[in-house]
Symmetry: D2
Subunit: 336 residues, 4 copies
């Protein structure tokens, strides 16, 4: 039995706790949160477990195997480091850390201690992302051309992070998983409309090898909620709309192929088009976090490396850092 301690029981923590607790072979035995009301709610659902306002006790507790860190990113490094030093595997909210160097230090520490890190890139465990991954890896889309994502809605503004740190980690972790290539460079533009000086609208371009381009549109000031990703490939193209309950993924048998054409007409085309059926594969409707929790327990029990390990977390943080640097430098191209 793997004993899990939860640090942070605010908005997302209850979901993490519930899913680990329901995973066969795991049990939530301790929860900490500085807020008394949050702790009381935890106590109602998990009567009899250890509840503390301070997280230190959990980090050093003998009987905990896993620490799930569900706190703001600014506190991630210290908590994670202490947990690793005390021999705990860690499950940690995204973004992994506030900087590349922090991420690197934690990864190294975990390797020394032979401990697992899993960064909570929850979307990788949704039916939609799994299906898209399957389509890409199975060659259905062919070579990729672009990955274009829109993630906009009204707020929530946060005190200490801009819209990039808030919304982009979702897309960056999904993109990292699906494209599965090291990005070459990033460039970002954006604006802060309010007095706290944090961007609320931002546009991010990410260059990959082989002319693959990714673009993220993140916006806290949109009147409508949009969660749409277009992925263009040589063979097929797809649209993923995460806000519809059915037919989230539409695969279009549409495409363009370059031709050797030399004809010099006014509006001459050097490409040929293909426009065929559309197909919406059935997507399993599972609770992503449930699968993720079970997967982490399995990785620990069988000593496997999670796909969303510290290195995956680091890749996302590295992009975030470069995006922020590009924004600060007025949209400069930042090589990775």
């Amino acid at each position: 039995m793997i004993n899990v301690g939860i640090i942070g029981y605010g908005y997302w923590g209850p979901n993490v706790a519930r899913n680990f607790n329901e995973t066969p072979g795991a049990k939530v035995t301790a929860i900490s949160d500085p807020d008394a009301g949050s702790l009381a709610r935890a106590g109602q659902i998990y009567p009899g477990i250890r509840l503390e306002r301070n997280c230190e006790g959990l980090l050093t507790a003998k009987n905990l195997d896993v620490i799930a860190i569900v706190t703001p990113v600014s506190s991630h490094f210290e908590i994670a480091k202490t947990a690793l030093l005390n021999g705990k595997h860690i499950f940690i909210e995204k973004p992994f850390t506030a900087s590349v160097s922090q991420a690197e230090e934690l990864i190294e520490l975990a390797e020394q201690k032979k401990l697992k890190i899993m960064v909570d890139h929850t979307f990788l465990f949704t039916g939609a992302v799994k299906k898209i991954k399957e389509l890409i890896d199975g060659g259905v889309l062919g070579d990729l051309y672009y990955f274009d994502s829109i993630r906009v809605n009204l707020g929530l503004f946060q005190k200490d992070v801009n819209v990039v740190w808030d919304l982009a980690p979702h897309d960056l972790s999904i993109m990292d998983y699906l494209i599965d290539k090291e990005p070459l460079a990033v460039m970002a533009t954006g604006v802060a409309h309010f007095n706290h000086g944090l961007e609320d609208v931002a546009y991010i371009t990410i260059y990959f090898p082989n002319n693959v381009i990714a673009h993220l549109n993140v916006n806290w000031l949109s009147p409508v909620k949009i969660r749409t990703t277009l992925i263009g490939g040589q063979k097929k193209m797809l649209v993923w709309n995460d806000l519809v309950s059915d037919e989230k993924i539409r695969v279009y048998d549409k495409g363009v192929e370059g031709m050797e054409g030399t004809k010099e007409q006014s509006y001459g085309l050097r490409v040929s088009y293909r426009s065929g059926d559309m197909w919406a594969p059935r997507v399993n409707q599972v609770e992503a976090l449930k699968g993720e929790a079970a997967y982490f327990i399995d990785c620990i029990n069988n000593n496997r490396i999670p796909q969303n390990d510290g290195k995956a977390g680091l890749r996302v943080v590295r992009m975030l850092e470069a995006i922020i640097n590009s924004l600060k430098a007025g949209g400069k191209l930042v090589h990775l």
Copy 2:
């Protein structure tokens, strides 16, 4: 009666001809096109008018008052210049010219000759854009925050221009009209996936004074056609979907206002949100080109300056030139 000569009778020319011909006080009396088939079609509809494969005759014809230039942009300057030198008002396809200097020369020439130039920014004459203009100028939206437009579809690839020259002039002319401010700088990223080296995917940011930001997403490789513009203002926000027949414009009584808040909670908010009704004003379904043709004839008869005059055309070309320069320089910020 104002006599109009049409140069270019391919895809768009027939619409220009028809609308000028149906405008009271105007008459199409000559059409030229190098293609014999196009000329024959013109002859069927306008029996008895002058038809020529070469445009020179029209440019010097005594009895023509207006020359409508509906040819590829590369030929605009020479044709327009000759027309102006021969004392003709010109109606010219967008983009106005292939370069800023060409546009400036034509504007100066027209001023000397006291002739009108109207650049065919057709969208300004649609019910949708007129309604949005009315909402902005009437203060309904309040101060603008952003203008975010997506114009993507599958092809058509063109031989000599990239996706920016093909699709962005629409958005740039609309944006120029609606925002009505001089842009400060542009930045663009993009990729060419085919061997002709012309970008088929591009992302453009345009900075305006007062933190207004505009962004255009243009893509020839999208499986779905999207024509959506989000405009965020301090008081209201709107979404314009040009592909639906009804309710093209939705105005949301949603917004965010900055507060002086100093509270330092973990996820503290320093803004307040407003979320109310949505309202879709009725949009007149008029043929934009019909209104535009009538407006041009009126500007000539009453010696008025068209809103979409040479200077408006120049502003769009100046942005296009800067966007191309930014793309060529790997996404450099180009000041205007």
Copy 3:
């Protein structure tokens, strides 16, 4: 403090229990369900309360003021009658009873005993239905022309009721509330495609005074889920789509007015059309059952008659009975 006993803790019972328990001034103190697993789940959430597999104990328990009956309709009458005889107010699932005579008997019994009956017409407490009611009662729509509802999806087939008993009570209770007139007659057509002989597709017309017509389309064999209601009025018309999260209700400033026209053209019109803006009023997103539970407690404490009382339940059952009779008689018009 009002003590509530819940009878039936299957699919919907847990929601009823939770909402009554969270209502100030009320408390769930007993739950019965024949299924041991259901009882165990109840025990986890309400530790220490009375749990019984048989409902009789609850019906005669001294310390219970309200019995919530969340069981299949076939058992409603016996349970409700016993509860009333034992002096309990009853909250009862829709449809109220399996027959008109049962409903009438319960209403009479409750009146004698001065007890309240509330039939769980949950939809009446949604933000959408409340808003529509407000629009109709406020005269915004003008005189009603029609009420046209579609409620279709794939299954779930039930053992002992047809699609009418399963799906139509929702629409009938909403319609009864909104139109607020006694229907004159019903007529229904339908088919049973499977061997249990219960209709899985049915179409119901209901005639009201003043030429108001209602129509319900209920179908267990639809590949897509549709929950759309059109309501036409003299002044405005509205569309309610319950499956979208935003803009559930759209009010159209569209209409037709009869004219005295005598002109005898081939396709002459004797009506005039009006086509204006569309407006989507903000709809409160509340948990309907929460408001309903609080309303019932308030009705008991302040001796008010619930709008969804036994008589409302009876009106729905009377229509159901007539619809079934019409179906059985091959679509005969059944007067009410």
Copy 4:
């Protein structure tokens, strides 16, 4: 060369004329319309052809092989009969005639004279209906369960026909083509809200053998335009939305199958569900009338019987007559 005379050049006539004129082997050589303006428009497009305000001349003209009758239904019979008596093939607007007996007389007359009748059931020649026919005939949907169509919009009210005669012929002809079975009975309900006494809202049920049920919802008082048909089959189900430009047809791998189940649980299911992918086959975007005109010319030249011959027209008129009878008799079941 087959010479075609067009009778009626109002709203639809110009389309019929243009398509016959563009069909290889056919030529429009005469047009009649009582309205001088309509005739003038015809003259502009077909300079030099015979134009008459009265149709008699055309009906007896030696050099006409086909008469296309594009007039209100009330005039169909007389014109068609005269045309047939004068040895002309006829192409005639739907609905074929104003009564069953008229249709029967025309069919008999055409048979005697060895002439063709084609009733303009245009929808049968759309890419969408052809694709659905292919799916049904190819067994993709399996045995049909139901055909459920909604055709609603605001107006246009007509002087002498109700909403059934105006809108239902579309659905009836499509249904007749797709289901390809003789209906057993019809039943209709509806209401007239304006003083001319013609129904503006109607609901029609049509019973076919083997428990196939069809339902049509036609309404002139809807704030939104809807053109949606659901077709349920044993193997697959489809939704046809004619108002979208792409993905008009969606085929769902969803279904229900009856089982022998005897289990007597409270909410026991006796069916099994299947829920899989969705697939939107590419639909050819052709001008239906173009294909239809070519097909008629081909039927004449090669002495083939059109699928939409007089008998198809009669089947539609027979259903219309029965529907009207059912409406008049207050929703009585009318056997066919």
